[in-house]
Assembly symmetry: C2
Homo-oligomer: 227 residues x 2
């Protein structure tokens, strides 16, 4: 399979493109370019004017904010196949609402916002898909706010682990943490120390065993009951 054909199938798997016709998609590709990035490289900063949104092909990217005191909070961790900054294109004066930085080197597609908007204009079905997706994002935010304000750190960690388990799994499983523990801690709005202690405590109680990035859960039901 050629590199180009690979890009095409990757695109089609994504909701923003799946709804497009071949002609529309090809048109969009003429307004798209590939960009490589290294670990630690800043892709864009909060408040930068935005002309493009992105689809991650390889590597990991973090979207984060920094408080006045220099504390960093990771808002989302982007993994291959995920898009980001796509909702920004609808703003009147598009500016990125977060910083984006490479966590593990990779490549991404930068898609021109205006080109996509033009396509949307032609297809209500696509509009609907996009709006539905934005709604899901809003939903996810409600959920996150709830869990950050209503629940303690142990609950958040358990909730996060269960989120890594595929749907419908029961009994025993093995999961792999998708990133460094310190990044996960930041997403959960706890310090690395607290995450470490919480995982340790869950281990003591026989609910999980942690070995670097591998977490095995002998009884998912028991963990779910903590939620």
């Amino acid at each position: 399979m050629s590199a180009d054909a690979k890009v095409l199938t990757e695109l089609d798997r994504h909701y923003l493109f799946a709804a497009l016709s071949d002609a529309q998609r090809d048109e969009l590709l003429t307004h798209t370019h590939t960009r490589e990035f290294k670990s630690g490289q800043l892709l864009f900063s909060q408040n930068d004017p935005a002309q493009a949104f992105f689809l991650l092909r390889r590597g990991d990217v973090k979207l984060y904010r920094v408080s006045a005191e220099g504390q960093e909070k990771i808002m989302r961790l982007i993994r291959p196949g995920m898009s980001f900054a796509e909702s920004v294109m609808f703003m009147d004066t598009p500016r990125y609402p977060v910083h984006a930085e490479g966590v593990r080197a990779g490549t991404l597609l930068a898609i021109d916002s205006d080109a996509y908007l033009n396509i949307l204009q032609a297809s209500f079905a696509t509009c609907r898909t996009v709006m539905a997706k934005m709604t899901q994002r809003i939903q996810a935010h409600w959920d996150e706010i709830e869990s950050l304000t209503l629940q303690n750190s142990r609950y958040r960690v358990v909730h996060y682990l269960l989120g890594l388990v595929p749907e419908g799994t029961t009994g025993t499983t093995e999961i792999t943490l998708p990133s460094r523990k310190s990044l996960i801690a930041s997403q959960l709005a706890v310090t690395p120390e607290t995450l470490s202690r919480t995982l340790h405590a869950l281990g003591q109680e026989g609910l999980i065993t942690v070995q670097d990035y591998a977490v095995s859960i002998p009884d998912i039901g028991a963990l779910r009951r903590l939620q």
Copy 2:
């Protein structure tokens, strides 16, 4: 002005309707009904199937969630002229993501989701407006998550107060709290006790004076510098 004409001007002031033609709006009104509610009355519950979204005309409504332990967190406080649950209509299986309850008795318009969707289908301009609005909502959520996780309670209170001051104001101002302090506390994810103490402390420092619902700020600049 007749009651009906009043409804019309109220509608037109809202982004979801401002973009509609008179004909479209009239069509929509045939799928709209008015509902009265009392203080404490439940309007809908989390996970209720949703066929309508709402525009508040009079009174106040809180959107909230309840944790497993029964703690309540107010996600948004809806005031007259604001719409809510409008993003839900784009979900595949529309369900309200929060509880809604009257805080002060009033009336609201319930607008049929399908009717609105049909209109959207006919107008890309309207689609764009709606998408832009949804983007703003997403933005606001990022901001809220940031302030809830990155900042302490004093900062959140100051931030909230400054949000009540009209844009561009300098020097001295007087603002009115939009609701009971306990509701504000819940929105800021602090206890009423903490809010009370924080306001008191800010008063001690000469930054504000609080008299029931009236807050006067002798020097907005000084308060902004705390942010």
